[in-house]
Amino acid sequence: MGRFIYRRLVHGLIVILGVTVIVFVVTRMVGDPVQVMLPLESTPEQRAAFEQKLGLDRPIHIQFVEFMGNLVRLDFGESLWQKRPAMDIVFEKLPMTILLTAVGIGFACVMAIPLGIIAALRPGGWVDRVTVFGSLLGLSVPQFWLGLLFIVVFAVQFKILPTSGTGTPSHILLPALTMGLPTLARLVMLVRSSMIDELNRQYVKTSFAKGLPFLRVVGLHALRNAGLPIMTLVGWEVIRSLAGYSVVVETVFAWPGIGLTAIQAIEREDLILIQAIVFTAAVCVVLINIAMDFLYKLIDPRLKLT
């Protein structure tokens, strides 16, 4: 157990380090930050002063050592765009993305598990066919377009929900729905196929034969055994969303989360804010991955953590 935690933490550190080094290299070596951030008419003296302020006039390896030193203290410096510490901005935006992800994926789970089970009870029946086709459709619709469609229908045509932004609880409905639908589609397919496999097992037949109630067999015994792949997918969806896939939904609905901030920082060439965001995303991914491994163990105690 201790060995497992140690190995996972080391791997997590490698991931985080790799991501930060890549971002550092890409932003410093490929582009010229000063050129991008200062107006065209600025004098050479202004440029030099700016370079000095950012520490860009020093050799790249010295910059790197200093960057890593600051990283340990979670200090990325001031955002060039908003003129305040980058980590403050990240900590302000991250909860919004987590909220959106939680509501969206929570909705997907609540819908997908009963739907998938009902479809799996009669494979090839009409409920099953409708569900499979519906989820194929859900997989095929681009997320940004779905969001725009929802805005046109619910916000413009029927005027029952706000188009974008935040404030009231009803603001989260459309973004969360847009976020959840592709997840719902993938999840329904998986719940269906793993439940079909599980319901054909001998222990299910035995349980029915000895007269256990239907709901207990399907909802408790079979679902728990089908739970491992389902949980993997849910975890994967959460990771995807926090690792940047929320960008699309957040852009469409102007949802002030970490994805929208990332896109704005990229547009404004705010290197410092970008570094802070990518670092945070990498940390989130690593933490969720470790948490998932413990959840596996919780669901299936037979698993050995290696």
């Binding site: 469609l149 046109v152 690792a243 960008v247 990332a262």
Partner: protein, 333 residues
């Protein structure tokens, strides 16, 4: 299966020459049984044809602006004309022509990324699975690490710094997606390399590249093909999303994602600007997904067995009913 056993080598060779035609026919027969798969294949074929012959099919130049005919509605509206069947955008460009030309970018990016990422991933997976030891450990570590990266964020940053274009989109999406192929190939190689025919090839003295590419790789064709098609669908969506965010295909070129992004500003006046390219993406991806799920069904022996069992259960049920009916009738009078 039903072919008579051949006795001479010449006969066997003569039959072998037509094997691909036989398997194609077999595939066609399978397709007839699966309606969604058939629809998917037909849709994809027509999309590919549309993309290849886009300049001859499209009624207008997709980039030609006509400021006198801005935001013209589709033909079924009062103000619509047959000149612009699906209307025009805010610069007076023909929506139908742009949608037809958009298929080129989507399919090209999809094919290029699947080839690059698939090629690299398969080679890596083959090496990891067959060579084992340090190579395996290194490649698997690499894959594990890269899978845990926030891929889309990195892609966006790299695109923004290098400058978005068709080539960079392909490169970035390939870098982001090769790991699936690697993992899958490795696990398949691990199970195949224990089989007697691979051991026989080793004993005969084949070198490892020959064993990998001549003896192991052909056995991976069907799972890899299904994976490649699924990835193709994912890439088409990813390209559309990147273009929508402004970090994919750039304006003089046409792309469905780009058109949706431009139409977004006129969404409330001209719904067709957003809806038509969006539908094009959805139909393309749906067609690919239909084909992929059909291929998965016919190439997976377990799935085939299940299908057969379901079919037989239906037949038996009908027979049983018929017998029961027969037994009932004499008692009635």
């Amino acid at each position: 299966m039903t072919q008579p056993r051949t006795d001479t080598l010449e006969q066997a060779l003569a039959q072998n020459r037509f094997e691909w035609w036989d398997s194609l026919q077999e595939l066609g027969r399978e397709l007839k049984r699966d309606k969604p798969g058939l629809i998917g294949v037909i849709l994809i074929t027509s999309l590919v044809l549309m993309a290849v012959f886009a300049p001859y099919i499209a009624p207008h130049d997709p980039a030609a602006q006509d400021l006198t005919a801005r935001l013209a509605p589709p033909v079924w509206y009062d103000k619509g004309t047959w000149n612009h069947i699906l209307g025009t955008d805010h610069l007076g460009r023909d929506v139908l022509s742009r949608t037809i030309h958009g298929a080129r970018v989507s399919l090209w990016v999809g094919a290029a990324v699947v080839l690059c990422a698939g090629g690299f991933g398969v080679v890596m997976g083959l090496m990891a699975g067959y060579l084992g030891g340090r190579t395996d450990a290194f490649i698997m570590r690499w894959i594990d690490t890269q899978v845990a990266f926030p891929g889309l964020l990195l892609a966006l940053i790299i695109l923004a710094v290098i400058g978005p274009s068709l080539t960079t989109v392909v490169v970035v999406l390939s870098l982001n997606g090769w790991m699936v192929y690697g993992r899958m190939t490795r696990s398949a190689v691990l199970s195949i390399r224990q089989s007697p025919y691979v051991e026989a090839a080793e004993v005969v003295g084949c070198r490892w590249p020959r064993i990998l590419f001549r003896h192991i790789l052909p056995n991976l064709t069907s799972p890899l093909l299904t994976l490649a098609i699924l990835e193709f669908a994912r890439i088409v969506l990813a390209e559309a999303a990147l273009s929508f965010l402004g970090l994919g295909i750039q304006p003089p070129a046409t792309s469905w994602g780009l058109d949706v992004a431009m139409g977004k500003n006129y969404m409330f006046m001209a719904w067709w600007l957003v809806t038509i390219p969006g539908c094009a993406i959805a139909v393309t991806v749906l067609a690919i997904n239909l084909v992929a799920s059909w291929l998965r069904l016919i190439s997976d022996p377990q799935e085939r067995e299940k299908q057969y069992a379901r079919h037989m259960a239906g037949v038996m049920r009908k027979k049983l009913h018929a017998v029961l009916e027969k037994e009932k009738t004499p008692e009635a009078p």
